[in-house]
């Protein structure tokens, strides 16, 4: 089983620790996991694991978008905290045509609602879990832990 984790713009503090958390969780669930991110977000994750404890498999987001095809992954998990992240998630979701989970968060409740609506309007079958959060990863972690049970 293969899982792809999509990271958005790295300006959200909670994204990096949660990327490692999600990677670890999916790996323990038996997924061969890959994280796709832009260069800065990749570096933040890479530096978070100096001893290579997690054996993080990191790829460039835009290059990977050009390479993937339907069926390449069995699960897609996306961090959606910006308009562009919603667009990237929907695009990967449509290409891969696989099970998917969108972790929607923002410090602004209106943005949370807007990003959820963007994914829903796309016709995606993704499971969407949403919460107002920015600095503190705990609310997103709680939502992820609950949502990922649907895929166990």
């Amino acid at each position: 089983m293969k899982a792809l984790v999509l990271l958005g713009c790295p300006e959200t503090p909670s994204q990096t620790p949660l990327a490692v958390y999600v990677y670890n969780k999916l790996t323990k669930m038996g997924y061969d996991t890959t994280i796709a991110a832009n260069p800065a977000a990749k570096k933040l994750v890479k530096v978070s694991d100096p001893e290579d404890y997690y054996h993080l498999d990191l790829v460039d987001l835009e290059r990977h978008l050009g390479e993937i095809k339907e069926g390449d992954y069995d699960l897609l998990v996306g961090f959606v905290h910006k308009d562009a992240a919603a667009s990237f998630f929907v695009t990967f979701d449509q290409i891969l045509q696989t099970k998917s989970l969108a972790l929607v968060f923002s410090r602004d409740a209106d943005e949370v609602a807007e990003f959820v609506s963007m994914i829903e309007e796309s016709g995606s079958n993704a499971l969407i879990t949403a919460v107002r959060a920015f600095h503190n990863p705990s609310p997103i972690k709680v939502k992820f832990d609950k949502a990922i049970k649907e895929f166990e």
Binding site: N38, G66, A84, S87, F88, T91, M118, E121
Partner: protein
């Protein structure tokens, strides 16, 4: 060698940005407003050598008088922009073949 939008935008100044660091929906509206002809494609469809990112149906516009195409261009940290650049008939036909006909 086929056309590649990323390379073109880095190496040419013959293009126009109509919106930058915007949301996808605003950019889709600008394309619908500015173009005199539209096709609607799916996210991930390849236009000018890149996979187009966005929420379906994604509008791609043409200005036949100027011989240009309008398309959304999304970067993770910079949001979505509307880029207008020259296009030849062959590339235009390739885009037309992607038309889903779905405008909603």
């Amino acid at each position: 060698m086929s056309f590649c939008l990323d390379t073109y935008l880095q190496q040419s100044d013959n293009y126009e940005i109509h919106a930058s660091k915007a949301g996808f929906k605003d950019c889709a509206m600008i394309i619908r407003f500015k173009a005199d002809d539209l096709v609607y494609i799916k996210p991930g469809d390849e236009v000018l050598g890149v996979r187009v990112i966005g929420i379906p149906p994604i509008p791609i516009g043409f200005d036949h008088e100027k011989g240009t195409v309008f398309l959304p261009y999304t970067k993770p940290c910079h949001g979505t922009s509307v880029v207008e650049l020259p296009i030849d008939e062959e590339e235009m036909e390739k885009i037309r073949k992607l038309d889903t006909g779905n405008k909603k």
